[in-house]
């Protein structure tokens, strides 16, 4: 399925990209409009900036999901792993288990 969520680094980057792109296009829109003496051109350039910013951060692009959070394993999994270890302990030698734990 589609992924809509991004990680923490991605959220910081998305905010910077949004503000940077829109501000940059705003400044360009003002300067071009002032030189061309055309307010309509200015508005179109600004609108293009909003579209570019929206396109670059609203979808959860891979560049916003580069550093996903590495969670600790859940308690259930730990318990299952311990149970499996206990089961294998009865079959294998105690020295084997010791090696596994220290490893």
């Amino acid at each position: 399925m589609f992924e809509f969520h991004i990680d923490f680094q991605g959220q910081h980057l998305a905010e910077q990209v949004t503000q940077g792109v829109i501000s940059f296009f705003g400044v360009i829109a003002f300067l071009v409009g002032l030189i061309a003496q055309d307010i309509r051109l200015s508005m179109y350039i600004f609108a293009a900036g909003v579209v570019v910013a929206a396109f670059s951060v609203i979808p959860a692009w891979p560049y916003l999901r580069k550093s996903p959070i590495k969670w600790l394993p859940s308690r259930e999994k730990l318990a299952a792993a311990a149970a499996a270890a206990a089961a294998s302990k009865q079959e294998s030698s105690p020295s084997d288990l010791k090696d596994k734990k220290t490893a």
């Binding site: 307010i39 600004f46 900036g49 909003v50």
Partner: protein
């Protein structure tokens, strides 16, 4: 910014803030763009007639209000007022005079709206006044009025600005010479 809606909201919210800054910059830039408009109004003739102030009055007998009918000549070049924040110009000719009871009177004689730079050069002859030239005192005796061309820049965004040409010489109003039909 973690969810799709949240990012869409952030983009839209920041774009609203940014466009207000852009519009503010446009509004202030319009104030410092230089222009050199010129304009002049002259009256070729003035005729004063008497009539009723209001046609809807039930009193049909008292035609004692004096109307001044003028023929105007207007020359203006307002094309330099069209910059990137000019939506249209409202141009109006104003007669200004003083009477003992009212020191400053201004009456609009004629007006027009200019929407394009190509239409901003005005050269009109034989214009009659669009609006009645009547004084609050009803009489035009001993009046010496000058006329000037005023303009109002209507912006797309920002401040309404006004300007006017130099006033013409004073015109003396003649005695009534007829009855307005």
């Amino acid at each position: 910014m973690n969810s799709l809606q949240n990012r869409a909201n952030a983009v839209m919210a920041f774009s609203i803030s940014a466009i207000f800054c852009l519009l503010g910059a446009i509004a202030f830039s319009a104030l410092i763009i230089p222009s050199n408009p010129s304009g002049a109004v002259a009256l070729d003739s003035i005729k004063v007639v008497t009539g009723r102030y209001d046609r809807n009055w039930v009193d049909y007998k008292t035609r004692n209000n004096e109307f001044a009918n003028t023929v105007m000549r207007i020359d203006a070049d307002l094309s330099s007022l069209f910059h990137w924040n000019t939506k249209q110009l409202f141009v109006y000719a104003v007669a200004e005079y003083s009477t003992p009871t009212h020191p400053k009177n201004q009456i609009v004689l004629w007006d027009t709206i200019i929407k394009r730079k190509s239409a901003a050069v005005i050269s009109k002859r034989g214009l009659n006044n669009k609006y009645s030239l009547i004084d609050v005192n009803k009489k035009w005796t001993d009046i010496n009025a000058n006329v000037s061309l005023h303009w109002n820049i209507v912006p797309y965004v920002g401040f309404m600005t006004y300007g006017h040409s130099k006033a013409s010489e004073g015109y003396a109003f003649p005695l009534p010479s007829g009855i307005q039909t």
